[in-house]
Amino acid sequence: MNAWRRVPSRMARPPRLLRLFPASWRDRYGEEVADLLQRSPQPVRDRIDLTRSLPGEHMLALAERRELMRWLPATAAVLVALGVGGAFWATLRLEDGWVEIPGHWWSTLAVLPGVLGLGLAAVAVAVTASRTRARRREH
């Protein structure tokens, strides 16, 4: 049995959740998704499904921004260098060396840029891999 609700399409309003999606995605699919959500027999499940797809859509949107790769690798490298420097500085001040870093707020703070840098580097690698695959397909 079809449990989908018959809702006039004019009643469909964009749910707040859609605001979290990239603008390009919202422009392309926002109205249709709002329409589907309005009719859904399982709105909670569908909102969870939408939330699950959120990181992937942002990754795709990032991969399409050409200017991104101008600053992303450099920023990642600077942050990693700061984190390595911070770890070195903290290690000199800790009795048991680097293993003690997570045990103090100040030493944890010192290596935090490095962690952020590694995260950005992972994003840069994922974006580059995605673009390389796209280029291979075009050829």
Binding site: S9, V33, D35, L50
Partner: protein, 115 residues
């Protein structure tokens, strides 16, 4: 034939690979909008795609030129298969069929039972 060749484009879609194949199969007979695709897939595959999964798959299919959007009717946009998309469905179905045949042979080899 090596299994995995025909699914090469769809396999890049990660968790959207299987939903994307369902969408392609759904669009084989006629263009459909999102709501109609969900209902159709629910009918033939017994799976209800959530909107994130459906539009995640549709977006990737559009980017790879396997489906294309038609002029909207009201708030809904119908999608149709491109010739590349049609060829991709054929390849995927052929591979699944070959895989099923191969698996069946091994199954009977293991159990010794006739088909």
């Amino acid at each position: 034939m090596e299994f995995g060749d025909a699914m090469s484009v769809l396999s890049e879609f990660g968790r959207f690979s299987e939903p994307a194949l369902f969408v392609l199969i759904s669009l084989l007979d006629a263009p459909k909008h999102g709501y109609a695709i969900v209902i159709d897939i629910e009918d033939f595959a017994g799976r209800r795609l959530g909107p994130g999964t459906l539009y995640g798959a549709l977006g990737r299919l559009e980017r790879h030129g396997l489906v294309e959007a038609l002029a909207p009717t009201g708030r809904r946009k119908p999608y149709r298969l491109t010739s590349t998309g049609r060829a991709e469905v054929r390849r995927a179905l052929d591979e699944m069929s070959a895989l099923a045949t191969y698996g069946d042979k091994r199954w009977h080899g293991l159990t010794g039972s006739p088909a």
